[in-house]
């Protein structure tokens, strides 16, 4: 029996990018294998769910769980791995904040099915069928996991001990997390593993805190390669987003979109980005602030790009998403309208 700590990695509703990111350790992946007894990693190695079920509760020392929770299967695995793991880590933006697939909380299952299976220009569905959890075919019944209306974060389904941010987490972020585990220097439970500073702090672009008169879309201008993008009127969430990525996107002329999530003191990433951005506009009255912010399209989908399910908003009211009127609370309705979401 190995005396090394037991490690598990799992993917729920995800793109596979977090798995590739771990493999992105390249030759250092062998160090991970040297320090841990990897007991479960469906993407890469042999083990089955029954093997996990056979473990004692808490027998897995650390589980890195990536992907959001958006169907029954995802939820089942979240509960199982919580039970079997001493330390459960929400790994990557989807498990932490819902991620980009979490933007589906601006829509509903019916809306998604209606487009995908009926309306899209290449779809041919004369029988008007759509996928169902139980389907009778000539030979028997086939089953599919139930697709939820709402995308949830891992912590909304089970208690989570630590959060590793990033879409996907950069190699340095993964190394920092692994080193903290190996050396027993993990921060207090509930912590985000990463520096409590912002992307601005690690961005080499020169920041002069200019007040801006309007926002530009990225395709409208070719920015100065050395000056702060926000100073040049290009939306950049780096001002209110946790550091740790090395400011890679701003360095190639693309504004940050917030994949590392908020810093410790900020509960709601989107609200913090909005406040930070509002403070950068050159306006004297609320009306002027609003007029300048109007030059920035899709606030909901922009400020909450990676953290909508994790936010105080969590989702668009279902009735609003489905197109009926009058149910949405005013502040949510406004956010939805501002998002340009289809009725």
């Amino acid at each position: 029996m190995s005396s090394k700590p037991k490690l598990a990695l799992y993917w729920a509703s995800s793109c596979g990018g977090c798995e590739i990111a771990v493999l992105g350790l390249h030759e250092k992946i062998l160090d991970v294998a040297a320090h841990f007894d990897i007991v479960f990693w469906p993407c890469v190695m042999d083990a089955k769910v029954a093997d996990v079920e056979a473990l004692d509760n808490g027998e897995i020392d650390v589980c890195l769980f990536n992907g959001a929770i958006r169907n029954d299967d995802n939820a089942h695995m979240a509960h199982l791995l919580r039970q079997k793991s001493k330390v459960l880590v929400a790994f990557g933006s989807c498990a932490f904040g819902g991620g980009i697939p979490g933007l589906a909380n601006l829509t509903s299952r019916d809306q998604i099915f209606d487009w995908v299976y009926y309306q899209s220009p290449s779809t041919d569905n004369p029988q008007s069928v759509w996928p169902k959890p139980h389907v009778k075919v000539d030979e028997g019944t086939l089953t599919l996991p139930t697709f939820w209306n709402t995308v949830k974060t891992l912590a909304q389904v089970v208690p989570v001990d630590y959060f590793v941010p990033g879409c996907p987490p950069e190699v340095s972020t993964i190394e920092a997390a692994v080193n903290a585990i190996v050396s027993g220097t993990l921060p207090p439970p509930g912590s985000v593993i990463g520096p409590d500073t912002t992307v601005c702090d690690e961005c080499p672009r020169e920041k002069n805190m200019k007040k801006i008169k309007r926002f530009y879309r990225p395709q409208e201008v070719i920015p100065d390669p050395n000056a702060c993008l926000l100073d040049q009127g290009l939306f950049c969430a780096g001002i209110a987003t946790r550091a740790g990525c090395g400011a890679r996107c701003p360095q190639v002329g693309m504004g940050c979109r917030g994949c590392y999530g908020p810093i410790d003191r900020d509960l709601d990433h989107g609200a913090k980005i909005l406040t930070a951005i509002a403070s950068a506009v050159d306006a004297n009255t609320p009306e002027e602030v609003e007029a300048i912010l109007d030059t920035l399209p899709d606030p909901a989908g922009t400020f909450y790009r990676y953290h909508l399910p994790h936010s105080l908003l969590r989702r668009k009211e279902l009735s609003a998403a489905n197109g009926s009127n009058g149910q949405a609370k005013p502040e949510r309705a406004e956010m939805v309208a501002a998002s340009g979401g289809r009725p």
């Binding site: 793109c15 190695m45 299967d73 991620g99 933007l103 899209s120 220009p121 290449s122």
Partner: protein
């Protein structure tokens, strides 16, 4: 009726399931390959600014984000009616070639190749990258890791990030590379060509020199006659980044050659209630169920399909190997699904050679990498060849470039019907009179794996082993037999 469930979800939870039903004689009655996942990108991207689409849709797939970024960038060029400057276009293709090298390398050495290099009859536990290392030598493992690493470095230099790169915008790229970086990339590209040649030699020495393997590749169990699709340049040579979509019939005769904007005239998608994924088919032929041949609209889009649909390769070493493959396998088109592995490393060689061509061109380091759009956006379609099939992005926006509609037909989706048919054919050849051969697990897996299917990138199993479990139940639900590989 006996029911067999092949359930990769014993390991790849929720990411794919095969149900096989036997009739009263114990022969295969029907097969269902179910995809239990959907995320709804086409719908939740509505309302977002179009220029965000490369970064949004790359999250469809963490294994091939570059493909979505490129299809999306080209859709944005079309949407805004803007042509990237030469350097912008070349940078995109350079990044994309580096991506192809790393993706095809991973598949050959870790996913598909072990079946041949180690041998289809060797123990399952050895049919993985470690088995390849044991057979070919330790340094090959280091070479595979090094190839992935150096090409991810190229992707990061040009795209900003190694996974989910960000630098594509309508009209080009967000930043140039330096002359120093160009020289570094050229050096990497030359190493890639050597590595691809080594890989092809390996395939010849281990696979083609073994008559048992060649017999298996050309056996009826792995033969499927369909239409073939792929992107071609103006000389009908294979191209990954740009060109027209060409379709040939099962006899190899050109059936269609269309521009991206015409895709809805040529491709439609059929819906079944037992899976979340749709089945594309050729619209002019119609949907006739899971049948092969000239009368059926089912087509295939794989490395082999692309070679079948083209007249050749645009680079000399890849062209020589292309000719060798068709001479060896009896001319065009080739319908042997397992020959896809050979086609894939021919594409690997082409990608490496193309990378050298692009990196040798000093213009690729020009600072002029983006054209600012001046027209109002309306509608745009972008198509690239993803490693796993033709990838189509189609956007409709308002005059501010806010998305009103999005339609996506992703790589593997094109091959959904052929994969399902190949699985059935392999099952039919191995299940008779209710007797299930022990070899069925690997044989079905090999049919499946030749496509390198990427169902939300979820069915990737990196050591080369699709974990499979077959549970055979009688009509009362009692387990009568349980077969598994790579699980216990």
């Amino acid at each position: 009726m006996t029911r067999i469930t092949i359930d990769p979800i014993t390991r790849l939870e929720g990411h794919g399931k095969i149900e096989i039903f036997l009739n009263d004689q114990g022969d295969v009655e029907n097969c269902y390959f179910q995809v239990p996942e959907l995320r709804g990108f086409e719908v939740f991207c509505v309302g977002r600014p179009a220029e965000e689409m490369p970064r949004l849709t790359s999250r469809i797939c963490g294994v091939c984000p570059e493909a979505h970024m490129m299809a999306s960038a080209k859709a944005l060029d079309a949407l805004y009616g803007v042509e990237p400057p030469p350097a912008g276009k070349k940078l995109r293709e350079l990044l994309y070639s580096a991506f192809y090298v790393t993706d095809h390398t991973t598949h050959f050495y870790a996913l598909g190749g072990p079946d041949f290099v180690v041998g289809p009859d060797s123990p399952a536990a050895e049919r993985n990258i470690l088995g390849v290392i044991a057979k070919v030598g330790l340094e090959i493992g280091g070479q595979v890791i090094a190839a992935r690493k150096r090409n991810h470095h190229v992707i990061e230099m040009i795209g900003g990030r190694a996974i989910h790169p960000v630098a594509a915008l309508p009209g080009g790229m967000s930043h140039p590379i330096t002359e120093e970086q160009r020289r570094e990339i050229l050096d990497i590209a030359r190493q890639n060509v050597e590595f691809a040649q080594f890989t092809i030699d390996l395939f010849h020495n281990v696979v083609l020199a073994n008559s048992a393997y060649v017999e298996m590749i050309t056996s009826p169990a792995y033969t499927l006659r369909t239409y073939y699709m792929g992107l071609v340049d103006e000389h009908n040579k294979v191209n990954f980044y740009d060109g027209l979509v060409r379709v040939v019939d099962p006899d190899g005769v050109e059936f269609a050659r269309y521009m991206p904007v015409e895709y809805t005239d040529h491709v439609a998608e059929h819906v079944e209630p037992w899976t979340y994924l749709k089945f594309p088919y050729l619209k002019k032929l119609g949907w006739h169920g899971f049948v092969e041949g000239k009368g059926s609209g089912i087509y295939c889009c794989t490395p082999l399909s692309r070679l079948n649909a083209a007249d050749g390769m645009a680079t000399p070493l890849a062209q020589a190997e292309y000719e060798r493959m068709y001479e060896t396998l009896g001319g065009k088109p080739v319908h042997f699904t397992l020959a896809t592995h050979w086609a894939r490393i021919i594409e690997l060689l082409y990608a490496a050679e193309r990378m050298v061509e692009l990196a040798e061109d000093p213009e690729v380091a020009s600072p002029d990498v983006r054209t600012l759009p001046t027209k109002k956006p309306t509608e745009g379609v972008g198509i690239v060849e993803a490693p796993r099939g033709t990838l189509t992005h189609h956007y409709v926006t308002d005059e501010n470039g806010i998305l009103l509609e999005a339609n996506l037909i992703v790589g593997t989706t094109n091959n959904y019907a052929p994969i399902q048919m190949n699985i059935k054919r392999a099952a039919e050849s191995l299940i008779h009179g209710g007797q299930v051969s022990d070899g069925i697990l690997n044989r079905i897996e090999m049919a499946f794996r030749a496509y390198d299917p990427c169902l939300s990138c979820a069915t990737h199993s990196l050591p080369g082993q699709m974990p499979l479990e077959i549970v055979i139940r009688d009509s009362s639900g009692q387990v009568v037999q349980r077969l598994s590989q790579n699980i216990d």
